[in-house]
Symmetry: C2
Subunit: 350 residues, 2 copies
């Protein structure tokens, strides 16, 4: 990546925004009376939820922010050699789209190489190619993928753009919080809850909110992918997850640079976990009430504000005496399918 | 309904808009590069589709427009006696919400009675009550429902607000087209395609577009609910449909007042029909690409522009020589559920 990574400061997030704003959408912020009502604790402050809809972002997820920022900080010489990443998800498509968008602006080609496990579903391979990436296959383990990335780099000189564990990615993702704070009206937002997988989004939002008074919280699936919440309790970064959570975008341990931000209690107040049923119930509510399609991963922070007892206690404690509070939720993406919805919701409860 | 119904003119639609605009949302208009590309015929004009998102309207459907307008034209004395309708769908909820909204403004109660077949699904009954309606049950035939409506009227003096077959409803629904024309930029819209069930929306849009040069088309499910298309061919209104189309909002014959507009070739150019598979494919595309939840009925006009050969021929003929055209589609509503999606898409193709 860029020779001098950005420092993890609000200023760097603002600089990132000016670099990427013309290439991405300023996504809308939705409110829902029903959801806000359900999130309001009995005897506590009235909660208004503000959903920052990155499912309506280009390529359907916030990941385009970090990828666009990482590329914007590379030199023309680096861009001509191309970029490479390993991902079977949103980051792969984000990198491919960011490269083709920037290539049009620059007037020269920017090759985007994506290393995917050969067992990836054909639709994901097709989608990644559809955004203009050259797909190279690898085995399924981290070591096998990294080896193939190394070979691509040797052959092409491409720059590695990791999915989350890099300051340029983190401050790029953080731009979503700058928009959210503006859109909810300055000085009004009290807290924001984001999903936490690799931690790019959570660390970015926390960096953007530093010094603003907005309290930042993370949200994780409890079953298997609660590496961040457990790590915070144990005081060390947990390096592996093994999970089949429905929130497939969050099946990732927190990265090193990300952990540096997230483990700072001044920056991230707490990471809450929710069950698979709570995630599914939250997804159903958002889809049916707000009439938008969201990924299961995006339902995780919604599930926190709707059903985490610990979150409710935090609200009652921190905002005691307040009549109303405003809570932002980053709806991280909408890249799911009807078939996936059928798969997740089609099975009868046992 | 009101003693002097509105005439079916663009002026009446504009008047309706000024009566209802403060009570409803101006819904957004979405474009999608993928959908527009798929709609563009080879060798024909490039098509840009503009989706008018009434799924994001209050109570999730355009029906709130007609109901709000009908009530706005009643006297205070009539409103105090209340309103009644028979519907198990969006119109019931629209009437209930319109009544409670207007009641707050007026400062007195406006009872809303909804007659529903006793076999209605409990969730629909609960939703209708949730909007504040008093639900009265009837048998399932039209005669049985009408008898119960009559009894409610005798008992309460409530005014009957029919779901679609009334000029005040028609011009109320037509307000959606005024917004759409403005939002796509004046003078830019070439055509608009809307679903056709009872014909309130189609007749309203056609009334609003009279004299503007915007060509208005209707869209129906081919299997069973093509009463309007068949009626136009036979030169007479068909008075009954019997159908299990997935587009459950369109399982209704066209009303009398509606037929008067729709059968005028100066106002509605043509009504196209599409198959169940085409409707499902269109719904899948809109949900997955635009990340919004739509009812199957709303997928019907999308299916027309994506897969009707007769529509393509019309485009090639009418817009021959044009480089680009702009086509509006009314996404009529989003009142469906995850369970319905599972039911519709969960069965494997035979």
């Amino acid at each position: 990546m860029s020779a001098t990574p950005q420092p993890l400061t609000p200023t760097a997030v603002r600089e990132a925004r000016s670099l990427i704003c013309e290439h991405i959408h300023q996504t809308p912020v939705l409110t829902s009376r029903t959801l806000s009502h359900l999130a309001t604790p009995a005897g506590g402050p009235r909660i208004t939820l503000h959903l920052k809809c990155e499912n309506l972002q280009k390529m359907g997820a916030f990941k385009i922010r970090g990828a666009t920022h990482a590329l914007a900080r590379l030199s023309d010489a680096e861009l001509r050699r191309g970029v490479v990443t390993h991902s079977s998800g949103n980051h792969a498509q984000a990198l491919a789209l960011a490269a083709s968008t920037l290539a049009k602006r620059k007037g020269f080609e920017i090759p985007a190489h994506v290393v995917m496990p050969s067992v990836s579903t054909p639709s994901k391979i097709a989608a990644t190619r559809g955004y203009g990436a050259e797909v190279t296959f690898s085995g399924s383990t981290a070591r096998e993928r990294e080896e193939v990335v190394r070979l691509v780099q040797e052959r092409t000189g491409a720059v590695l753009v990791p999915p989350y564990d890099h300051p340029d990615i983190i401050v790029g993702q953080g731009t979503v919080a700058l928009e959210l704070m503006e859109q909810v009206k300055p000085e009004l937002l009290d807290a924001v809850v984001t999903p936490c997988g690799g931690g790019g989004l959570l660390a970015g939002v926390a960096t953007a909110c530093t010094g603003t008074g907005v309290r930042v919280y993370g949200a994780e699936p409890r079953e298997g992918a609660d590496d961040c919440a457990r790590g915070l309790k144990e005081g060390r970064r947990i390096e592996a997850v093994k999970t089949g959570t429905v929130a497939d975008g969050l099946r990732t341990p927190v990265g090193v640079a990300n952990w540096g931000v997230i483990s700072d209690p001044e920056k991230v107040k707490r990471v809450y976990t929710v069950s698979e049923e709570e995630i599914k119930d939250a997804m159903r509510l958002v889809v049916e009430r707000c009439k938008i399609l969201i990924e299961p991963s995006s339902a995780v922070p919604v599930a926190v504000v709707l059903s985490s007892q610990e979150w409710r206690e935090e609200v009652m404690r921190v905002f005691a005496g307040r009549e109303e509070i405003h809570v932002g939720i980053v709806i991280s993406g909408g890249n799911t399918t009807i078939d996936k919805v059928v798969e997740v919701f089609g099975k009868k409860a046992e």
